[in-house]
């Protein structure tokens, strides 16, 4: 069991050789924090493959995001990507990895561990930060900070029409070439962009090693050591690429053929060893566009309506790739959505998720004023 306290990472100390650390799927952690009304930089738990058994010693709000590790609250399936009220004595358990491998738990107020060099993230290797600089163990008791709102936490809802991430078994990961792509010939670049790679078992929070065709350098693997950016795909002498993640060393001496874009770093960290990865080249501007898109989603949660005390199961309907609004018999929205192009009296295949359960069915869609049923 690898469960650690993480926030968005430790910045300003990389010049002293201090790794950034922080949630590998930062988007999922920030999402969870936004749902329970926390500050963006609040600390939560990163739970890997096998989650903990967590007992709550006080009433609070929680949100679990990221991987689906089959969470249950007091024995009932816990819907992910939404805020849920937990009572004192409540027990959160996990019952098996179904999709992705890192789940995030945010608790209203955020976890209260000492701030070390500006961050609450755990640095496992140097043994500082987080909870006593280590992974959580049975019997550890963590506290939460007071919630931000004056009258207690203000949990938030999912943005209308938002379809929560799922991760699957094969992953298309977008990269920007460089900073040392010129250390590689066209064949090596083609190998990177046109092959499929398998995530090695020899992967951890520092980096993902990729099994597959080796990538050859023009001259050799060594460069004059320089800074390691997040997501760098470095290629050492054996030609086996490694993608550098949050616990990476701050500097390195191997040529970096490409760098994973920010928006795909979290999805990559959800890829399980043995699953496949293919790379797609994009430019920096595309990466920035996707960063802004994700920021807009997080802002929409933070500025959106508060969650109801007893929220309904989330129902999202996607028809031919387009999200649709769903209303109940009284015409009240079950989940709101961005308006798509109306289709009239036509049968479609549809996929719905209710309370974490997935359903596939056929649906007839007809135009009815501004809503589609």
């Amino acid at each position: 069991m690898l469960t650690t306290v993480q926030d968005c990472g430790r910045y300003g100390f990389q010049r002293f050789g201090v790794p950034v650390s922080g949630a590998l799927d930062e988007f999922a952690l920030r999402f969870a924090n936004a749902l329970v009304g926390n500050d963006d930089g609040a600390a939560g738990l990163e739970m890997t493959v096998v989650g903990p058994v967590a007992r709550f010693l006080a009433d609070t709000w929680i949100a679990v995001t990221g991987a689906d590790l089959s969470p249950k609250l007091d024995g009932e399936p816990l819907p992910q990507w939404r805020a849920t009220r937990v009572s004192e004595g409540g027990e959160l358990t996990f019952h098996g990895m179904r999709d992705g491998m890192r789940a995030y738990l945010a608790v209203a107020g955020g976890l209260d561990v000492p701030v070390v060099m500006g961050s609450r993230s755990t640095n496992l290797k140097a043994r500082f930060g987080g909870y006593e600089g280590r992974r959580l163990e049975k019997g550890d008791v963590l506290s939460a900070l007071p919630p931000r709102g004056e009258d207690g936490p203000v949990p938030r809802r999912l943005p209308g029409g938002y379809i929560v991430p799922t991760y699957g078994e094969s992953h298309e990961i977008r990269v920007v070439l460089g900073p040392q792509s010129d250390a590689f010939g066209p064949e090596a670049i083609a190998t990177l962009l046109e092959s499929s790679f398998e995530i090695s078992l020899d992967s951890d929070r520092m980096g993902y090693r990729l099994d597959g065709p080796v990538i050859n350098h023009k001259q050799g693997p060594d460069i004059v050591s320089d800074g390691n950016p997040p997501g760098a795909v470095q290629v050492p002498g054996d030609g086996v690429p490694t993608i550098l993640l949050a616990d990476r060393g701050t500097t390195g001496g191997y040529a970096k053929i490409a760098t994973v874009i920010t928006a795909d770093l979290g999805r990559l960290a959800q890829a399980v060893p043995g699953q496949t990865v293919v790379f797609k080249e994009v430019d920096v501007e595309e990466g920035h566009r996707l960063i802004r898109e994700n920021e807009a989603i997080l802002t929409a949660i933070e500025s959106g309506p508060p969650a109801a005390e007893k929220s309904l199961p989330i129902l999202s309907v996607v028809v031919d790739g387009e999200p649709y609004e769903v209303v109940d018999e009284e015409g009240k929205p079950v989940a709101s959505s961005e308006a798509g192009d109306p289709a009239s009296a036509k049968r479609h295949s549809a996929h719905a998720e209710v309370g974490g359960q997935a359903y596939d069915f056929e649906v007839e869609i007809r135009r009815d004023g501004e809503s589609r049923t």
Binding site: R15, F16, V176, P229, T251
Partner: protein, 243 residues
């Protein structure tokens, strides 16, 4: 040294500013000067900096700056060093006990170099070493400037554990281990000073761009005395301005 800096995108949240292509004290000085200026003028969107041998990695927040804006600010700082004068670099004096159990490889190094152990200590402690960059572990300095006569190959089989504070030589590099760790450097001495303390302010004794001088301690007693003062928080390393 390049005529104009190279800007190499390193993904969508970092940019490498490369000033040269070799390990060179002059190029490295420029890297630290640039880092200092980026901090001084608070270039918009900059989240973190990693100065290295011949380049500066600038990590930025794409929601508050664009690549073009960042690049143009950095280029301006490279080509127009005007504005505030830079601080003179620090020289950090690190008390070190050479030889004995703290520097078990000192006799080997002396033999390799055809010197006496006293000569090795004299040459090693007379040099001001430039901290080209930090990395490998928190607080580990990559020092440049080792006298070529002292270059010694690494151990064929690395030691399982090297004590924190060990001062060693590997090929043409010298350095200090901030934490106990495995390693293959030839150990010539050890400092009682704490190189890195996560809750210290600042956490790292050294910063990239500093100079280091190793000051020989005369005896085990001196070592123990300094270590005692380090542990009680009374010891301050000597820091002077680079002449």
């Amino acid at each position: 040294m390049y005529e104009t800096p190279l800007f190499l995108p390193a993904g969508d949240q970092a940019l490498v500013v490369e000033l040269g292509d070799a390990i060179d004290a002059g190029v490295n000085r420029r890297v630290h000067d640039l880092a200092q200026r980026v901090e001084a003028v608070e270039v918009a969107g900059v989240v973190d900096l990693i100065p290295a041998y011949r380049s500066l990695l600038v990590q930025y927040d794409a929601t508050t700056t664009s690549l073009a804006a960042l690049q143009s600010s950095l280029l301006k700082l490279c080509s127009d060093p005007g504005g505030q004068p830079l601080e003179r670099p620090r020289v950090v004096h690190i008390p070190t006990l050479y030889g004995g159990e703290h520097g078990p490889d000192l006799p080997y190094v002396a033999e390799q170099c055809g010197m006496t152990t006293d000569e090795v200590v004299r040459v090693h402690s007379e040099t001001e070493y430039l901290v080209h960059m930090m990395g490998f572990t928190p607080g580990f300095p990559y020092l440049g400037g080792l006298d070529e006569r002292l270059a010694t190959p690494r151990l064929a089989t690395p030691r399982q554990e090297i004590p924190a504070g060990s001062v060693g030589i590997a090929e043409s590099q010298t350095g200090v281990y901030p934490f106990a760790s495995p390693g293959g450097w030839r150990l010539i001495g050890r400092t009682p000073v704490t190189m890195f303390d996560p809750v210290g302010e600042p956490p790292s004794l050294l910063a990239a761009g500093d100079y280091v001088r190793f000051t020989p301690l005369q005896s085990e007693n001196d070592y123990a005395e300094v270590r005692g003062r380090v542990e009680s928080g009374e010891f301050q390393v000597t820091v002077t301005a680079k002449q």
